[in-house]
Symmetry: D2
Subunit: 298 residues, 4 copies
């Protein structure tokens, strides 16, 4: 039985930085979590099959493994092991387009599916994880105690955004917005650093944490980073992207929605990872051709 009084039982596959902490938060709330991970040091059971066997029906299994093949293959394995009436949650960073595929596969076996976009990073263990979920009302309702334990205290931090895929969709847009917000602060930081007018840039950012229009959690974090390293001297301007930003822009293209700030933020990350820019080589070559402007040799 998933529900035992107020407490519930849940299987958790993937006990990395996110999954491991989410298990801890659920257990602290009194729920029972059976965890599986490829790393036997952190796992409660030795295989996905053992995990399924350890749960009482109707079972609920939360998948928290990398998006793409790892998630897809885990869902496929669960489709063969779970039974009618069970439910699977994909809490990873999957692309929303994967959700319909996963849900359809599980539905063939009478297994429910909920996609959950999870925000909170390393802070989630103590502050709670914001959850954006997609799926049927019935599936979402069954998992309510799990969501309630994971989410932050208070009225915010959880939304049932729509049918299957809506959770990852909302999380994707959340991340697209996040990219542009980070870029906003970053551009302001660079401009202040470049200017001869402002003496102490970290103090300016610190002051903004109260009373300003730009106050936010990201600003608090930037202040924290500048406390550690006031000139960011130990950090290279090299930024990865994890997929959601790219998918957001793809959706803008699909739906004909102009997304200049989000897209430029993504492009700035692409550029940050280039040793040299082929495009700028071409521009330099052109300037040399028409104006005889010197080029820098490679």
């Amino acid at each position: 039985m998933l529900e035992r009084g107020r407490d519930v039982q849940l299987g958790m596959i993937g006990l990395g930085k996110m999954g491991g902490n989410m298990k801890l938060r659920l257990e602290k709330a009194g729920h029972q979590v059976v965890g599986y991970d490829r790393n036997p040091d952190v796992a409660d059971v030795g295989s996905v099959a053992e995990l399924v066997a350890a749960l009482d029906a109707p079972r609920a299994v939360w998948v928290m493994v990398p998006a793409g093949e790892p998630t897809t293959s885990t869902v496929a394995e669960l489709a063969g092991l779970l039974a009618e009436g069970d439910v699977v949650v994909d809490g990873g960073n999957s692309r929303f387009t994967d959700d319909a595929v996963n849900a359809a596969l599980l539905a063939e076996h009478g297994i429910g599916y909920v996609d959950a976009g999870v925000s909170g990073g390393v802070w989630g263990l103590t502050e709670g994880y914001a959850l954006m979920v997609g799926g049927s009302a019935a599936d979402v309702e069954r998992l309510r105690p799990v969501f309630d334990a994971l989410k932050p205290e208070g009225e915010f931090g959880f939304v049932h955004a729509g049918g299957v895929g809506a959770g990852h969709y909302a999380k994707m847009v959340h991340n697209g917005i996040e990219y542009a917000m980070m870029q906003a602060y970053a551009e302001g930081y660079e401009l202040l650093e470049a200017s001869e007018y402002v003496d102490n840039v970290p103090e300016v950012f610190k002051s903004w944490r109260s009373g300003t229009v730009v106050r936010s959690w990201l600003l608090d974090l930037l202040d924290r980073a500048l406390d550690d390293d006031p000139e960011l001297a130990r950090i290279k301007g090299y930024v990865e992207d994890s997929g959601e930003g790219r998918w957001t822009v793809d959706e803008g293209i699909r739906l004909r929605v102009p997304l200049p700030a989000i897209t430029e933020s993504l492009f700035a990350r692409f550029t940050s990872r280039q040793e040299d820019s082929p495009a700028m080589k071409a521009v330099a070559a052109l300037r040399n051709q028409f104006g005889g402007h010197a080029v820098k040799p490679e």
Copy 2:
């Protein structure tokens, strides 16, 4: 005497939405404020000269009138009325380049000058005004009780950012960041509204207020706006800009700092105010020329 025990005396010129509320907040803190405004209904005195006469030396006068000519002419008038040892604060939205001019004029008369960028809008009365100030250490120190009364409670919300001009400079960059943050949420909003995946966009924004990376005061306000008008049906997509965004981009150009997200946010505002786009007319004309693509008649 500016200081009387802990309480101080201040002249305030300009008692509009901002200046009027700042006067109230200062008075609530026990300070004495003599206010002048062109509107006699809200003014304590009938002229700038009367305001100066009503203050004990050394005087402090806060100018809170529109940027540009109104501020410049007020400062010029004060230069003729104030005396050595007095100090003027420009708390308006002046361009930082105006500050050196104002300061030099006042310095000829031995009058000090502090520029103060003020954030907080209609919320400042109760929550406090974030202050970014520029000027000499001595001038800033003298005004400390005023700043302390205006700023929000707690350790944040005030910075002495540098010499004359630094306050308005920091406020300018603050507003540039603000533009891009607003654009970030706005792009996310439009994408979610356009998508067939998410059922209830306002609920998604509401849920983000806790536990997410994008939580912020602006997000709280957007949630508030969507509570009032869930589809923003009563608002036109027409957005003014007050100068700081334009000056921020100008500074990016001057200092060779790429500001794509901020600049695109500014351009989006320009576009929002156009009935029709001459540039897009030219593109439509070109497509018609080479491809025989139909154009929409004006």
Copy 3:
């Protein structure tokens, strides 16, 4: 037989603005073209089956119908009608990702496939069509007389860009570049029109047609458009996009190539087609919330 001395025989499916003129250009060069179109008034034969029957083996059939379903279903029909040794050319504006699918289907029947990106628009009949083709060396070589007749005179205007898909890929990038070039002139046009410095904007563009760095065919066309309508008063700033621009940006995202100018040009088109901008509604709502700035009612 495809080849008869120097002249060749070709089937052409789709006799619209592009296909019809390409047929004329091929016939003018001495080739025989059997044309089919859904519109019987312009067709030589009454069906695709009749077209196939009218050609001598080994046959070559050029498909010039809208991208997507119309092209896909035509290729599928041809797969059932043509025989081993025949070859199909898709000269439409197909997405390069369709080409591998089309080629694989035809290959099951021993039929070759070449994708051809075609540029030239309404000017191609007289000036020739620039061709970017993808496919095997053998398939491309067989069609050489057709390509030679269609392409412009001289050493340029044709490239065998790579395997199947490369032709449409090169054409897609061509169009992405085209978007940004058009946007470049359009932005310059709007700025000149807005400025109080320049008296006669069309004359400036006209003068640029010789000796400048920006001279180009597109500039010639813009001059032509301004001759017709010096203030573009008869044209609305509303611009469609045909797919290649969107696909180009999608490819930039896939390959992590920053494409700011091309992407902003695409977004400008999206914006040009909006009655009102939901994003700008959100920004206006936010400004109203924090600053009490008035909004324009819808």
Copy 4:
């Protein structure tokens, strides 16, 4: 006398890459040019004063020195040496805002002033220089034989764009457009190079020189550059900017004209010159703070 039958006499100050070739082109056309340069090896006279003395009144002097102080001080020197009825041309890359200042100074002495934006680079000697000029009708008319000799053959390549400043203004916008056109080709180049679909990128660009929508002089030059160095292996992606692009964006800001493609092209140049990006350091720091994402050490 400026005019002697059809031939004219002109003083030329600044005999560098541009001025020197322009002198040659004028002399080839039968005009007499007295040249001064700080480098005595290329100068006809030893000083600006000697140059003025060597000309018959009414004199015409073309200033072709770097923009900013060198041009301003040369004009000031000429104001003291020339006489009523003479005329000065500033053919350098001056900002249009300098022109009114120069013109006013000369007008005090009854000396005319024409600003000339000159395009053509190293190709101008043989192909002619495109000229965009601003000034009074009378001043422009007097210089007509000079302009006719410098400009390319044919009906294009010269425009009297408006009053003083209009020439440099039109040239500024020309350069802004040029930035975005170069960026357009450069982005297409990078995308083609990154793609697995296209085998030979230089051949694609070469093919585009005829029959395509993107054919242009810049494309011819890019083909030429790729002939020399097919992978641009000898060129670093480092691009200077000479001012006009920055001024164009400043004008967009002043006149509220959105210029996304031109501005992003300028920002791409700024970025190309950075060793590391402070903004991207800030983004990396933020990602590390909230997600525990590893940063690259500097």
